[in-house]
Symmetry: none
Subunit: 172 residues, 2 copies
DNA sequence: CTAATATGAATGAAGG
DNA sequence: CCTTCATTCATATTAG
Protein backbone atom coordinates (compact mmCIF):
# COMPACT_ATOMS: atom_id res chain seq x y z
CA UNK A 1 0.00 0.00 0.00
CA UNK A 2 0.98 3.55 -0.34
CA UNK A 3 2.23 4.75 2.95
CA UNK A 4 2.73 8.41 3.43
CA UNK A 5 4.09 9.44 6.75
CA UNK A 6 4.92 13.06 6.32
CA UNK A 7 2.37 15.07 4.49
CA UNK A 8 3.22 18.62 3.87
CA UNK A 9 0.22 19.30 1.75
CA UNK A 10 -2.80 20.27 3.71
CA UNK A 11 -5.71 20.72 1.44
CA UNK A 12 -6.96 24.17 1.74
CA UNK A 13 -9.94 23.19 3.73
CA UNK A 14 -11.85 25.24 6.15
CA UNK A 15 -14.05 26.90 3.66
CA UNK A 16 -12.43 30.24 4.07
CA UNK A 17 -9.13 31.52 2.83
CA UNK A 18 -7.61 28.65 0.90
CA UNK A 19 -8.88 27.89 -2.53
CA UNK A 20 -9.22 24.71 -4.44
CA UNK A 21 -6.19 22.43 -4.63
CA UNK A 22 -5.08 23.59 -8.02
CA UNK A 23 -1.50 23.02 -7.07
CA UNK A 24 0.04 20.44 -9.31
CA UNK A 25 2.88 19.91 -6.89
CA UNK A 26 0.54 19.00 -4.09
CA UNK A 27 -0.64 15.43 -3.77
CA UNK A 28 -4.02 16.86 -2.86
CA UNK A 29 -5.08 15.53 0.48
CA UNK A 30 -8.72 14.62 0.42
CA UNK A 31 -9.34 15.01 4.05
CA UNK A 32 -7.82 17.04 6.76
CA UNK A 33 -4.84 15.54 8.55
CA UNK A 34 -4.36 17.20 11.89
CA UNK A 35 -0.78 17.98 12.74
CA UNK A 36 0.70 16.67 15.98
CA UNK A 37 0.57 20.14 17.42
CA UNK A 38 -3.05 20.47 16.51
CA UNK A 39 -3.81 17.14 18.03
CA UNK A 40 -2.05 18.21 21.16
CA UNK A 41 -4.16 21.29 21.40
CA UNK A 42 -7.38 19.46 20.68
CA UNK A 43 -6.60 16.79 23.20
CA UNK A 44 -5.72 19.35 25.79
CA UNK A 45 -9.00 21.08 25.30
CA UNK A 46 -10.90 17.85 25.39
CA UNK A 47 -9.15 16.67 28.49
CA UNK A 48 -9.76 20.04 30.02
CA UNK A 49 -13.40 19.20 30.13
CA UNK A 50 -14.54 20.94 26.99
CA UNK A 51 -15.93 17.94 25.23
CA UNK A 52 -18.59 19.81 23.35
CA UNK A 53 -17.46 23.33 22.55
CA UNK A 54 -20.13 25.78 21.44
CA UNK A 55 -19.90 27.52 18.15
CA UNK A 56 -18.06 30.50 19.56
CA UNK A 57 -15.50 28.30 21.16
CA UNK A 58 -15.15 26.16 18.08
CA UNK A 59 -14.23 29.16 16.04
CA UNK A 60 -11.61 30.20 18.54
CA UNK A 61 -10.14 26.74 18.61
CA UNK A 62 -10.00 26.73 14.86
CA UNK A 63 -8.11 29.98 14.93
CA UNK A 64 -5.55 28.46 17.22
CA UNK A 65 -5.18 25.38 15.10
CA UNK A 66 -4.83 27.44 11.96
CA UNK A 67 -1.51 28.63 13.29
CA UNK A 68 -0.20 25.14 12.77
CA UNK A 69 -1.95 24.31 9.57
CA UNK A 70 -5.02 24.82 7.49
CA UNK A 71 -8.16 23.79 9.30
CA UNK A 72 -11.80 24.73 9.21
CA UNK A 73 -14.54 25.04 11.74
CA UNK A 74 -16.13 21.93 10.41
CA UNK A 75 -12.95 19.99 11.01
CA UNK A 76 -12.89 21.07 14.61
CA UNK A 77 -16.53 20.29 15.04
CA UNK A 78 -16.12 16.86 13.50
CA UNK A 79 -13.08 16.20 15.58
CA UNK A 80 -14.87 16.85 18.83
CA UNK A 81 -17.88 14.91 17.74
CA UNK A 82 -15.86 11.89 16.79
CA UNK A 83 -13.76 12.22 19.87
CA UNK A 84 -16.78 12.18 22.08
CA UNK A 85 -18.23 9.17 20.36
CA UNK A 86 -15.00 7.27 20.51
CA UNK A 87 -14.45 8.14 24.13
CA UNK A 88 -17.86 6.97 25.09
CA UNK A 89 -17.47 3.82 23.09
CA UNK A 90 -14.12 3.12 24.65
CA UNK A 91 -15.49 3.66 28.07
CA UNK A 92 -18.42 1.41 27.46
CA UNK A 93 -16.21 -1.27 26.05
CA UNK A 94 -13.90 -1.14 28.99
CA UNK A 95 -16.74 -1.17 31.41
CA UNK A 96 -18.40 -4.08 29.73
CA UNK A 97 -15.15 -5.96 29.72
CA UNK A 98 -14.55 -5.36 33.38
CA UNK A 99 -18.06 -6.37 34.24
CA UNK A 100 -17.88 -9.45 32.10
CA UNK A 101 -14.62 -10.45 33.71
CA UNK A 102 -16.22 -10.28 37.12
CA UNK A 103 -19.53 -11.73 36.16
CA UNK A 104 -19.34 -15.48 36.68
CA UNK A 105 -22.98 -15.59 37.44
CA UNK A 106 -23.26 -19.27 36.75
CA UNK A 107 -26.81 -19.17 35.61
CA UNK A 108 -27.01 -20.19 32.02
CA UNK A 109 -24.43 -18.15 30.31
CA UNK A 110 -21.28 -20.18 30.57
CA UNK A 111 -19.50 -18.27 27.88
CA UNK A 112 -16.07 -17.60 29.20
CA UNK A 113 -14.64 -14.25 28.37
CA UNK A 114 -11.07 -13.96 27.35
CA UNK A 115 -8.83 -11.27 28.66
CA UNK A 116 -9.67 -7.91 27.29
CA UNK A 117 -6.63 -6.26 25.86
CA UNK A 118 -7.11 -3.63 23.30
CA UNK A 119 -3.85 -2.95 21.63
CA UNK A 120 -3.12 0.68 21.21
CA UNK A 121 -0.30 2.12 19.15
CA UNK A 122 -0.06 4.93 21.63
CA UNK A 123 -0.67 4.74 25.30
CA UNK A 124 -4.00 6.31 25.12
CA UNK A 125 -5.05 6.78 28.67
CA UNK A 126 -8.49 8.17 28.49
CA UNK A 127 -8.70 9.88 31.81
CA UNK A 128 -11.13 12.60 31.12
CA UNK A 129 -13.11 11.81 34.18
CA UNK A 130 -14.06 14.43 36.69
CA UNK A 131 -13.24 17.64 34.96
CA UNK A 132 -12.99 20.31 37.57
CA UNK A 133 -12.11 22.92 35.02
CA UNK A 134 -15.66 24.02 34.76
CA UNK A 135 -15.26 27.70 35.22
CA UNK A 136 -16.86 30.24 33.03
CA UNK A 137 -13.79 32.38 32.99
CA UNK A 138 -10.82 32.15 30.68
CA UNK A 139 -10.77 28.96 28.71
CA UNK A 140 -7.07 28.40 29.01
CA UNK A 141 -7.24 24.67 28.76
CA UNK A 142 -3.54 24.21 28.35
CA UNK A 143 -1.38 23.41 31.28
CA UNK A 144 -0.09 19.95 30.70
CA UNK A 145 1.38 20.52 27.29
CA UNK A 146 4.32 18.60 25.98
CA UNK A 147 5.13 20.10 22.67
CA UNK A 148 7.68 22.80 22.14
CA UNK A 149 6.19 25.05 19.58
CA UNK A 150 2.71 24.29 20.73
CA UNK A 151 3.49 25.35 24.25
CA UNK A 152 5.18 28.45 22.99
CA UNK A 153 2.07 29.33 21.14
CA UNK A 154 -0.20 28.39 23.94
CA UNK A 155 1.52 30.88 26.15
CA UNK A 156 0.60 33.64 23.77
CA UNK A 157 -3.12 33.60 23.22
CA UNK A 158 -4.70 36.11 20.85
CA UNK A 159 -5.53 38.56 23.62
CA UNK A 160 -9.07 37.36 23.48
CA UNK A 161 -10.47 37.01 26.92
CA UNK A 162 -13.96 36.48 25.71
CA UNK A 163 -15.05 33.30 27.29
CA UNK A 164 -18.24 31.60 26.44
CA UNK A 165 -18.27 29.57 29.59
CA UNK A 166 -19.02 26.02 28.87
CA UNK A 167 -19.64 23.63 31.62
CA UNK A 168 -22.27 21.87 29.69
CA UNK A 169 -21.52 22.64 26.12
CA UNK A 170 -24.57 23.10 24.06
CA UNK A 171 -24.19 23.81 20.44
CA UNK A 172 -27.05 25.10 18.47
CA UNK B 1 -15.92 4.25 13.03
CA UNK B 2 -15.89 1.65 15.61
CA UNK B 3 -19.32 0.60 16.41
CA UNK B 4 -18.89 -2.11 18.93
CA UNK B 5 -15.80 -2.19 20.99
CA UNK B 6 -15.11 -5.66 22.12
CA UNK B 7 -11.61 -6.74 21.53
CA UNK B 8 -10.10 -9.70 23.13
CA UNK B 9 -6.69 -11.15 22.70
CA UNK B 10 -4.47 -9.00 20.56
CA UNK B 11 -2.67 -11.91 19.07
CA UNK B 12 -5.87 -13.56 18.17
CA UNK B 13 -5.08 -17.04 19.21
CA UNK B 14 -7.30 -19.33 21.14
CA UNK B 15 -4.81 -19.63 23.90
CA UNK B 16 -2.48 -22.12 22.34
CA UNK B 17 1.03 -21.82 21.08
CA UNK B 18 1.06 -19.20 18.44
CA UNK B 19 2.64 -19.90 15.11
CA UNK B 20 4.75 -16.85 15.57
CA UNK B 21 8.39 -17.23 14.59
CA UNK B 22 11.02 -17.55 17.27
CA UNK B 23 11.93 -13.96 16.78
CA UNK B 24 12.54 -12.09 19.96
CA UNK B 25 10.81 -9.10 18.49
CA UNK B 26 7.14 -8.69 19.16
CA UNK B 27 5.83 -12.20 19.53
CA UNK B 28 2.63 -10.83 20.91
CA UNK B 29 0.82 -7.59 20.40
CA UNK B 30 -0.48 -8.28 16.97
CA UNK B 31 -3.76 -7.76 15.32
CA UNK B 32 -6.50 -10.27 15.15
CA UNK B 33 -5.85 -13.05 12.66
CA UNK B 34 -9.06 -14.79 11.73
CA UNK B 35 -8.82 -18.54 11.52
CA UNK B 36 -9.74 -20.28 8.29
CA UNK B 37 -12.89 -21.53 9.90
CA UNK B 38 -13.78 -18.05 10.99
CA UNK B 39 -13.12 -16.70 7.55
CA UNK B 40 -15.33 -19.39 6.12
CA UNK B 41 -18.14 -18.42 8.42
CA UNK B 42 -17.73 -14.75 7.75
CA UNK B 43 -17.59 -15.24 4.03
CA UNK B 44 -20.65 -17.43 4.14
CA UNK B 45 -22.57 -14.82 5.99
CA UNK B 46 -21.41 -12.10 3.68
CA UNK B 47 -22.24 -14.07 0.58
CA UNK B 48 -25.56 -14.91 2.10
CA UNK B 49 -26.53 -11.32 1.67
CA UNK B 50 -25.78 -10.09 5.17
CA UNK B 51 -23.28 -7.46 4.23
CA UNK B 52 -24.13 -5.16 7.07
CA UNK B 53 -25.19 -7.11 10.14
CA UNK B 54 -26.92 -5.12 12.86
CA UNK B 55 -25.62 -5.16 16.36
CA UNK B 56 -27.65 -8.11 17.49
CA UNK B 57 -26.40 -10.13 14.60
CA UNK B 58 -22.85 -9.00 15.06
CA UNK B 59 -22.83 -10.24 18.61
CA UNK B 60 -24.19 -13.57 17.54
CA UNK B 61 -21.62 -13.90 14.81
CA UNK B 62 -18.91 -13.09 17.28
CA UNK B 63 -20.17 -15.83 19.54
CA UNK B 64 -19.97 -18.29 16.71
CA UNK B 65 -16.48 -17.22 15.78
CA UNK B 66 -15.36 -17.39 19.37
CA UNK B 67 -15.81 -21.13 19.19
CA UNK B 68 -12.92 -21.20 16.77
CA UNK B 69 -10.74 -18.60 18.37
CA UNK B 70 -10.70 -15.44 20.37
CA UNK B 71 -12.51 -12.65 18.62
CA UNK B 72 -14.35 -9.54 19.64
CA UNK B 73 -17.39 -7.74 18.37
CA UNK B 74 -15.19 -5.01 17.06
CA UNK B 75 -13.25 -7.51 14.99
CA UNK B 76 -16.43 -8.78 13.42
CA UNK B 77 -17.65 -5.31 12.79
CA UNK B 78 -14.34 -4.29 11.25
CA UNK B 79 -14.31 -7.35 9.10
CA UNK B 80 -17.68 -6.62 7.59
CA UNK B 81 -16.88 -2.99 7.23
CA UNK B 82 -13.67 -3.68 5.40
CA UNK B 83 -15.28 -6.34 3.33
CA UNK B 84 -17.95 -3.97 2.15
CA UNK B 85 -15.50 -1.22 1.38
CA UNK B 86 -13.16 -3.46 -0.48
CA UNK B 87 -15.93 -5.01 -2.48
CA UNK B 88 -17.19 -1.67 -3.50
CA UNK B 89 -13.74 -0.40 -4.19
CA UNK B 90 -12.99 -3.40 -6.32
CA UNK B 91 -16.13 -2.95 -8.30
CA UNK B 92 -15.48 0.70 -8.85
CA UNK B 93 -11.98 0.01 -10.02
CA UNK B 94 -13.04 -2.57 -12.48
CA UNK B 95 -15.94 -0.51 -13.61
CA UNK B 96 -13.75 2.49 -14.14
CA UNK B 97 -11.29 0.44 -16.10
CA UNK B 98 -14.00 -1.05 -18.25
CA UNK B 99 -15.57 2.30 -18.85
CA UNK B 100 -12.23 3.80 -19.71
CA UNK B 101 -11.56 0.99 -22.14
CA UNK B 102 -14.92 1.49 -23.78
CA UNK B 103 -14.77 5.22 -23.94
CA UNK B 104 -11.96 5.23 -26.48
CA UNK B 105 -11.45 8.85 -25.83
CA UNK B 106 -7.82 8.72 -26.71
CA UNK B 107 -6.92 11.03 -23.89
CA UNK B 108 -5.66 9.90 -20.55
CA UNK B 109 -7.03 12.79 -18.64
CA UNK B 110 -8.30 10.54 -15.95
CA UNK B 111 -5.98 10.26 -13.05
CA UNK B 112 -6.83 7.80 -10.33
CA UNK B 113 -4.91 6.51 -7.35
CA UNK B 114 -1.24 6.91 -6.93
CA UNK B 115 0.40 3.62 -7.65
CA UNK B 116 -2.34 1.13 -7.99
CA UNK B 117 -1.09 -1.76 -9.97
CA UNK B 118 -3.82 -3.80 -11.49
CA UNK B 119 -1.79 -6.59 -12.95
CA UNK B 120 -3.63 -9.41 -11.37
CA UNK B 121 -3.06 -12.91 -12.68
CA UNK B 122 -6.57 -13.91 -11.79
CA UNK B 123 -9.80 -12.18 -12.45
CA UNK B 124 -10.90 -10.86 -9.17
CA UNK B 125 -14.57 -11.09 -9.68
CA UNK B 126 -16.40 -10.97 -6.44
CA UNK B 127 -19.65 -11.85 -8.14
CA UNK B 128 -21.44 -11.04 -4.99
CA UNK B 129 -23.87 -8.61 -6.38
CA UNK B 130 -27.48 -9.05 -7.11
CA UNK B 131 -28.31 -11.20 -4.17
CA UNK B 132 -31.97 -11.91 -4.25
CA UNK B 133 -31.84 -13.71 -0.95
CA UNK B 134 -33.74 -11.02 0.77
CA UNK B 135 -35.93 -12.92 3.11
CA UNK B 136 -36.46 -11.97 6.68
CA UNK B 137 -36.50 -15.49 7.98
CA UNK B 138 -33.98 -17.47 9.93
CA UNK B 139 -30.45 -16.29 9.33
CA UNK B 140 -29.05 -19.60 8.32
CA UNK B 141 -26.49 -18.12 6.02
CA UNK B 142 -24.59 -21.33 5.69
CA UNK B 143 -25.38 -23.70 2.94
CA UNK B 144 -22.43 -23.66 0.63
CA UNK B 145 -19.70 -24.18 3.17
CA UNK B 146 -16.87 -26.57 2.65
CA UNK B 147 -15.13 -26.84 5.95
CA UNK B 148 -15.42 -29.88 8.12
CA UNK B 149 -15.48 -28.62 11.62
CA UNK B 150 -17.08 -25.43 10.61
CA UNK B 151 -19.95 -27.17 8.97
CA UNK B 152 -20.35 -29.42 11.94
CA UNK B 153 -20.67 -26.40 14.11
CA UNK B 154 -22.87 -24.59 11.71
CA UNK B 155 -25.39 -27.31 12.03
CA UNK B 156 -25.76 -26.62 15.71
CA UNK B 157 -26.39 -22.94 16.04
CA UNK B 158 -27.81 -21.40 19.19
CA UNK B 159 -31.54 -21.28 19.61
CA UNK B 160 -31.42 -17.62 18.91
CA UNK B 161 -33.41 -16.65 15.91
CA UNK B 162 -35.27 -13.62 14.71
CA UNK B 163 -32.60 -11.62 13.05
CA UNK B 164 -32.95 -8.51 11.07
CA UNK B 165 -33.63 -9.49 7.52
CA UNK B 166 -30.42 -8.36 6.02
CA UNK B 167 -31.95 -6.73 3.04
CA UNK B 168 -31.39 -3.25 4.12
CA UNK B 169 -29.86 -2.90 7.53
CA UNK B 170 -31.10 0.30 8.90
CA UNK B 171 -31.01 0.85 12.57
CA UNK B 172 -30.60 3.90 14.58
C1' DC C 1 16.82 -8.90 3.51
C1' DT C 2 13.79 -5.74 0.84
C1' DA C 3 9.56 -4.86 -1.87
C1' DA C 4 4.88 -5.48 -2.65
C1' DT C 5 0.46 -7.05 -1.33
C1' DA C 6 -3.50 -8.32 1.79
C1' DT C 7 -5.96 -7.07 5.51
C1' DG C 8 -7.17 -5.47 10.28
C1' DA C 9 -7.68 -1.22 12.64
C1' DA C 10 -8.09 4.09 13.21
C1' DT C 11 -9.92 8.36 11.73
C1' DG C 12 -12.20 12.17 9.12
C1' DA C 13 -16.51 13.24 7.00
C1' DA C 14 -21.32 12.87 6.28
C1' DG C 15 -26.22 11.09 6.81
C1' DG C 16 -30.18 10.24 9.62
C1' DC D 1 -26.33 11.37 19.40
C1' DC D 2 -25.67 7.23 16.62
C1' DT D 3 -24.56 4.85 12.39
C1' DT D 4 -22.14 4.47 8.10
C1' DC D 5 -18.83 5.46 4.13
C1' DA D 6 -14.33 6.51 2.43
C1' DT D 7 -9.55 7.07 3.20
C1' DT D 8 -5.47 6.13 5.54
C1' DC D 9 -2.21 3.79 8.72
C1' DA D 10 -0.02 -0.35 10.44
C1' DT D 11 1.21 -4.86 10.27
C1' DA D 12 1.26 -9.95 8.63
C1' DT D 13 2.19 -12.52 4.95
C1' DT D 14 4.22 -13.56 0.66
C1' DA D 15 7.13 -12.73 -3.47
C1' DG D 16 11.57 -11.29 -5.31
Amino acid sequence: MDQEGSSQSPTGHGGLSSSVPSNSTEPVRSRWSPKPEQILILESIFNSGIVNPPKDETVRIRKMLEKFGAVGDANVFYWFQNRRSRSRRRQRQLQAATAAAATTKGAEDYQHMTTMSMHHPYSNSESDLGFGSCSNSSPNYFFNDSLSQASSFLLSPPSSSSSSGGCESNNG
